[in-house]
Symmetry: none
Subunit: 413 residues, 2 copies
């Protein structure tokens, strides 16, 4: 037996005025998701706890069974893992953005006009060269890589570092670049902040004189850093439950969480992490992994969240319907009677109105061989509240699944 | 006001193929349990936590309000208490089986052909004598008693002992007896393991030359030990809530848990812990105890669990129906309007398919003077998920009951 665990990023929502005060899931035509609800057991899930809005890293950690209050040690680590870097126990990693700043250091564009991946790679090469020189001066190994578009990762490797330092990213355009400050009084935090400031300055110098920037309409002349993180100390799902798991996601942050959990990252051509992603390809790769012997495939779909961040009501509804269509085709190939548990949920609520992650619970439906089928027949935030799972927390989901697979150890005699 | 707390061991189940993918509780005709649901409030209970399969000791501890993560200190202690032995703070107790091994020490039968209680007592006397001699040599007091059939208890009393030692019981036939090993690096654990190995060897010598064994078709020529445990440090229910409680169970392990909680053990003739138990006698003794002033009677019924362990589908259904009948007769004598709270639940799910304890939640129904009656009218794993109690954890039950009895202290002003 195995599990296909489908997570649609930020799919859950609040009632939306433009939808007659219904949620996108209530409005969208989702016969396949409804079929999962009808065949299975449903419920509500608080990714972390009632009312607590989770970041994507925290939410997906929790869905994979890791208590964020115990294991979360900063976004940067997941970004680095997701970018394919390895982290040692003392390394500190940051999520980076190529950005555009004016002469006084005020941020004009936090994404440098959404610089192309190719251009970013060219600039990143120059930055990495400078980072190596600077690192040699400062007695620390510095690694900078760019990933997709404006996104990148900075890793400091060495002794005596700390993740207790502030972001240089001011969080919105129109504000000045921030100095990195230590967040506690340890010498490690002070040193790390000094290193970050020195590196940021050197990066601005390198970018200012880079010939590519002279040709770009929106120059990428600064690097914003945020989310200092260290490698979480956590056992993999294999160590915890003896299972072989895989993850399909186009988002580095989610890939990083999956790597922490020891999931194999499956590369799916056409998976973009945006509206244009190839959903059929993602599902067919997931099914192939299950056929190949994976016990669990974690399939993450991003663009529902993007639609909410963009306040794009109709786009969210229609993308949900596209997911439903792809899910339906996959369901025709799954044996939910004897072989596979199919779970569909969201990692958190993202509000179309506020454009932000919110702390409302998410609906969950789980069909498969031995679930206690309830009477719920629709997959949405309200219907699933009537379900047989009642209301669980994110970290409960993995034990519930592993229990069905017979992978949970007994407590007591 | 008082409480009759009925726990049917392993009664909850998953949907069963032979029952048209329904659970035994969904299929069995249970007008009395359904009546408790109809008159009362219902819900789901995770004995420990969602997805976590509990042992019987852990599950019943939790139902009596003791957090197993805080209080559980090994099965052996409960077996010893349940066998009527007392334990001091440093004593280490083991659950024992009379078993049959071949010359190389491979276990042929973990229950020595389910040796009769009488024969086991005869052998136990010889073992106790040897244990006393050996204890004097080794500087520790050794107590061995046999209880029912192949079951027994070994207690080591003295200073410098530890429960951090492994089982000698290999867990299934066809495997060799195991040496007892220390599970941590303390001298106490090393010494305890050495004692256990010396005692096990001496026991084999005594059993090998015992004249009774020459006459037995399946000789009981070894003792398997498992579940090293020490006395849990816990307040009794009387200390916690000022109540007088009693327990009716034919199972030593459950009796031990009840003794930890300070419940009086009521002896019921005809209560066997198996299919042939006298259910009417158990209920009538429970009612008599309530009439006699007990605030709470914990009534435990075993054979539902046995049926699942034996994969006996029809037997589980029919035994549930027998429980229901006995419950119905008792209900005629209970005043659920003004006097008694009647609670029925299971201690855990035991799957007819796997034959094992599983981590799925159990249904619970509670009728009585001041419960908030909900709309659920059937007692089963799916119906009760719609109930007014929603989904609780095992350790929540006792405060819920004590609150109704007016026995809970207020937190704050």
């Amino acid at each position: 037996m195995n599990v296909l665990f489908v997570v649609c990023d930020g799919m859950a929502d609040r009632p939306v005025r433009e939808l007659g005060r219904r949620t996108p899931l209530q409005v969208a035509k989702t016969p396949s998701m409804d079929r999962v609800a009808e065949l299975g057991i449903t419920g509500l899930v608080d990714p972390v706890a009632p009312g607590v809005p989770p970041g994507s890293d925290v939410a997906n950690m929790a869905l994979l069974g890791y208590d964020p209050y115990e294991h979360y040690s900063g976004r940067g680590a997941f970004e680095a893992l997701g970018a394919g870097l390895d982290l040692g126990p003392g390394d500190v990693a940051f999520r980076c953005n190529f950005a555009t700043v004016d002469k006084r250091g005020v941020v004009l564009d936090r994404r440098a006009g959404r610089i192309s991946t190719e251009h970013a790679h060219v600039l990143a090469e120059a930055l990495q060269e400078a980072a190596e020189d600077l690192g040699a001066e400062l007695g620390v190994e510095v690694v900078f890589v760019s990933t997709v578009q404006h996104r990148g990762v900075l890793v400091l490797r060495g002794e005596g570092l700390s993740r207790a330092v502030s972001d240089t990213d001011p969080g919105e355009a129109g504000r000045p670049l921030r100095r990195c400050e230590p967040l506690d009084s340890t010498p490690q935090a002070r040193r790390t902040a000094e290193l970050v400031n020195a590196i940021s300055e050197r990066f601005r110098e390198v970018l200012a004189r880079h010939p590519l920037n002279a040709r770009l309409e929106v120059p990428a002349n600064a690097i914003l850093l945020r989310g200092a993180g260290t490698l979480p100390r956590a056992k993999t799902l294999k160590e915890l439950y003896g299972i072989r798991g895989a993850c399909i996601s186009a988002v580095a942050l989610i890939k990083g969480v999956a790597r922490m959990a020891g999931l194999e990252l499956l590369d799916v051509p056409g998976a973009t992490g945006s509206y244009d992603t190839d959903l059929d390809a993602k599902f067919s790769h997931a099914l192939r992994a299950l056929e190949g012997g994976a016990d669990l495939v974690f399939l993450h779909i991003k663009a529902t969240d993007i639609a909410s961040h963009d306040h794009a009501v109709e786009r969210k509804v229609s993308f949900i319907e596209r997911i439903d269509e792809a899910l339906g085709k996959a369901m025709e190939l799954l044996d939910l009677e004897d072989e596979t548990y199919l779970l569909i949920t969201a990692d958190h609520t993202t509000s179309l109105r506020t454009g932000k992650h919110e702390g409302d619970p998410v609906p969950l439906a789980l069909a498969g061989p031995e679930v206690r089928r309830d009477w719920v027949r629709a997959f949405d935030e309200v219907s699933c509240a009537q379900g047989g799972l009642c209301r669980l927390r994110g970290i409960d989901i993995m034990p519930v699944l592993m229990n069905l697979l017979g992978k949970m150890g007994k407590l007591g005699a």
